[in-house]
Symmetry: C2
């Protein structure tokens, strides 16, 4: 890898540390940056540092924020009685893009995973309980993933939140829209059949 | 795209300006940088700027360099009488990786492409002719690509360099090694058949 001058080699090395970026792609991107206008490269470099400097966790929902409260938590137009619990900020963004939810969020910052040493105390569960008490929340929608850890986190939360007078729901799982039944896995089909509903 | 705080949104925007990086990948990379140690993000940002500040063209071969002469042009162990002409620095690196060439290079910085306004004067052809005169070069290997522009640039150079007493050769084209004949396109097969050689 010392076919290029030293500064290009080290840029390639740093780019290929990014997830999902192989050496070939890193090389291509480094050569692009070399050719790109200086302003474009500078904007990219600055925005990388900016993110590290400015982003912190929202003090209410623990999503990403550049202030004390995130954009959603400080939006008076949203329903503060309805809170959707997700694993990570990206899950919140996916739901926002769907436009299907107008309540607030609570980001757990992970899922229960005893193998990785993540128990209830490593997630933002106590903070969720405090919000249920303080904010007069009426419904908690559990929107953790449908993988094993997501499911067990949801059922753990379902039980743990029983002691509060709050309605706890789980997002539906089943055949994805636009999906052909023959391409859907058996577990999903079984779930879709079990949770079938009247038309 | 204003689901994330402003500094993340602008990082995503800047990343997705890179070639071959879509919005989803840019989002994934931005969130990775957010989680990555500050030092890693800083190294990446600095190496982007470093490349813009330090890299210039080698004054002899017009490849990338961080000094006046590039690593290859200043290597006394290479054959200075043999010069390989390529389109871009990345082509030179590909040849270097193959380990098949121990001469010098000359980077044209493009190919003839009248449609894009690239004529002989936009390439480093005069500089190549000057090198042929000054450096007592014995052989010029034309290693531009085998696409239409690469081929026509090679044949243009082949004619133009006839007035010098230098041997001009062209890299071979044909069936790639490890290739199955049935997957090779007709033009390549035709060329491979035409340029067949005795064993």
């Amino acid at each position: 890898m010392n076919y290029y001058p030293k500064s290009i080699t080290s840029l390639i090395k740093n780019i290929s540390k990014l997830p999902g970026i192989g050496e070939k792609t890193a090389e291509r991107l480094a050569l692009h940056m070399l050719r790109a206008p200086r302003q474009e490269a500078q904007q990219l470099a600055e925005s990388i540092l900016d993110v590290k400097d400015k982003i912190r966790f929202c003090s209410r929902c623990f999503g990403l924020s550049d202030g004390d409260l995130c954009r959603i938590c400080s939006d008076p137009g949203r329903n503060p009685r309805l809170v959707c619990v997700v694993e990570q900020p990206a899950d919140m963004v996916a739901l926002e893009k769907s436009g299907a939810f107008a309540g607030m969020y609570h980001i757990l910052q992970g899922v229960l995973s005893p193998m990785d040493g993540v128990g209830p105390d490593q997630l933002r569960i106590r903070e969720l309980e405090k919000r249920i008490q303080d904010e007069a929340i009426q419904e908690i929608v559990l929107a953790t993933g449908t993988h094993v850890e997501g499911e067990s986190t949801a059922s753990y939360l379902g039980e743990r939140l029983q002691r509060f007078s709050v309605k706890v729901t789980r997002i539906a799982s089943g055949v994805p829209i636009g999906g052909d039944l023959k391409f859907v896995d058996q577990v999903t089909l079984k779930r879709a059949m079990e949770t079938r509903h009247a038309l």
